[in-house]
Symmetry: C2
């Protein structure tokens, strides 16, 4: 007996139905915002990640040589791929470019709750606008996507910050600081002890005193404190940009989900402006659910014209933890509109059952019929197991009276209908139409 | 500048929109038939293919060692995976099991028109019924799926045969014949010269005389000739099974799409009963578009209880060739319900535009607005480029009169609407509602 490989999952119909409902809901909100679906490959040149993504991603890369010696990798994230696609058609694409897709990615990492080696993400990105309105639109989309799933402001919050606030503050301390390393330390600050956090900041080039003061200002969450700590043009402009983004997003109706949080940094190196992470407001789901932000340098770094970009990427697995915690994970039960049950093997029974099945399906109804040569009782048992709402019984006796029997499964009530009138003009005929 | 790797494809929004419409249509028909969606991993143990799939697939396998030395492969087909999933929950799953999914697969093969190294397939399978009704349901689903896409009987045909007809005929010639090799030869017969075909049959153990006679009977397409050539119980039972499947599928309304074709064999080793392939009736698309059939031995071979199975797997790329040839490939144009255009930067303009955008989106309308700080003209140009049906102009002047302007893009007609009444109670307010 074979098993799936470690870290990937099989989804059976009940769970998959719920996942599909979540994906459809997310994509539907993206569609309303004017994000257009794209399709992207699962395999890319390994170089695309080795040169552009953070160290962490490269360590976890599923990479190998294909049969002609190309060094390829299973895509661990979408951003480098969409950046490549923007570059390939930079001239012809109308800006802003607003793209969305939902698909699996692969990272060889430690398997834990809500984290797998094969994981599904929706990615929504806007290319070609450096305006705060673009950041705000991405934030508003992400918040609307969550409320559409039944979450409210007591369930989630977006902690929002700006990379240039961190970068500008660090730069004002000492220009020799390894800013990326220090930002990665901030990204880890909530997950490690304070001592370890200060150690990481010191490794990045801060002395103990500066690390302490830097931490104090970030924890204050007060933009006035930030400006006092580092009143440089870079920090001032970041603070102003962040405020405009928050105001614009609020106008789009999602202000109640946004919290200023200077300790939010995002792990990936390529972010350049506003960054945000979604958290469970109750803290029960302890890790960041997903995140996003602005990455204005990436397109140029893969060979394109300088092109501002901002995006967000909700992952299905961590999102499902939040939806379950909040009690709004979709129902996993299987639903079926009709089961057409055959009694007897005469040509007439077969023909009538086939016609009814065909017509119900043509009308868009989820309809099953016997394909296993089963008894009445076994067919009823199966109809029940697939949650059939109505069972249409086609039998010799009823047909002698030109009738079929319509059984409502929830109540057990049944009645007869003239065989020629079923389904007839009805879109979705039920017991009530004939009782 | 990076490119995608050879044999995979990037899909930009226009083309992706058309592909999504095709996938949605196929899945919608599958749903009506009671097929339930499952989710499956992209990575499996390489053993699953090396031991069970045909030689051809193994040669084309993207396989590699993961970071802990597991020999894994990118899934080249779905059947071994679903067989494994059936085995894992054999006791709890209600039979028949009817599963569907659409996803990419990977084979390292020669890239040509309609054939890529990364390719998308819908797979629909029925497990747990050996009855002809199950084969018929799969055929009916596949035919309905194509007619739903706008294809008719002048566009496609399913060539249907039965593996035991071939196997039984070969066995009756000489029990030493390598039946799998001979069946693979039949599968190739339409693609190679007659001399090469006979050569392959001889390699499989037929003498020249038998090869010629075998070929003659197959080409005749006459089941009487088959029974005369080999009147064994196995062949008789296969002929009778095939006839019942064709009759049952006809009752489900798809008889006109089915053709008996004894030369249809399918390349994969695991088929055991009815097999079929879909062809372009005009012959313009020269290769088989997709195929399916019964594979009763596979579940047992991956460690499960003996479980009959039948399935079909339309591939998007060859299907798109057929849809294009028939002129029914979906429109690739991008559509947008509303563009909300802002003139001026006053708070009032920003607020009204944000509210209208928010309300239209809440009502399910695809709505874009300016996120790039553009001029009136540039915004109009963008609205045109995304195919906006209606442009709502929010400007200082109109607002002074408590109005917004509604412009119908197709005609260029425009009118004003009271700002508070837009969108108001209307689900999808247009120029006509206010003119």
């Amino acid at each position: 007996m074979y098993d799936h490989v470690k870290g990937v999952r099989d989804f059976y119909p009940g769970e998959m139905g719920a996942r599909r409902a979540v994906i459809d809901s997310l994509e539907n909100v993206a569609r309303r915002y004017g994000f257009r679906e794209i399709g992207t490959p699962a395999i890319e040149s390994a170089d695309l990640y080795i040169e552009k993504s953070g160290e962490e991603i490269v360590e976890e890369l599923y990479s190998f040589e294909d049969k002609s010696g190309r060094h390829v990798a299973l895509t661990p994230e979408l951003t480098p791929t969409v950046a490549r696609m923007v570059v390939a058609k930079q001239q012809e694409l109308a800006k802003p470019i607003k793209w969305v897709s939902t698909r699996p990615f692969w990272r060889y990492e430690q398997v834990q709750q809500g984290r797998y080696r094969e994981f599904y993400q929706l990615n929504a990105d806007v290319f070609g606008s450096s305006e705060p309105a673009a950041d705000a639109e991405v934030l508003a989309f992400a918040a609307d996507a969550l409320t559409e799933l039944g979450l409210g402001s007591r369930d989630f919050e977006f902690r929002v910050s700006h990379r240039d606030i961190l970068g500008g503050m660090l730069e004002s301390i000492d220009t020799d600081i390894d800013v990326q390393a220090a930002i990665r330390a901030v990204d880890k600050s909530e997950k490690v002890e304070q001592g370890e956090y200060y150690g990481l900041l010191e490794d990045a080039g801060l002395d103990r005193e500066s690390a302490r003061e830097f931490d104090r200002v970030l924890s204050s969450g007060d933009l006035e404190e930030v400006l006092e700590f580092a009143g440089t043009e870079r920090v001032e402009s970041a603070v102003s940009n962040l405020q405009t983004v928050l105001d614009t997003a609020s106008r789009l109706g999602v202000g109640e989900y946004l919290t200023l949080s200077l300790e939010t940094a995002r792990g990936l190196d390529y972010y350049t402006g506003v960054v945000f992470e979604c958290f469970d407001s109750t803290g029960e789901v302890s890790r960041s659910v997903f995140g996003g932000g602005r990455y204005d340098g990436l397109i140029e770094s893969v060979g394109g014209q300088p092109t501002p970009a901002v995006g967000v990427a909700p992952g299905l697995a961590p999102l499902s933890l939040l939806l379950e915690r909040a009690g709004v994970w979709p129902d996993e039960a299987i639903a079926t509109d009709y089961y057409v049950l055959r009694v007897g093997e005469s040509d007439r029974v077969e023909e009538v059952a086939a016609r009814i099945t065909r017509e119900l399906r043509s009308g868009g109804q989820v309809t099953e019929t016997d394909i296993s040569g089963r008894s009445f009782g076994a067919q009823m048992g199966y109809a029940d197991s697939i949650g059939a709402e109505t069972v249409v019984i086609v039998g010799e006796q009823d047909l002698a009276n030109e009738q079929v029997t319509i059984k409502e499964m929830a109540s057990g009530d049944q009645t007869t209908a003239p065989v020629e009138a079923f389904p007839g003009e009805h879109d979705r005929p039920t017991y009530d139409d004939f009782a």
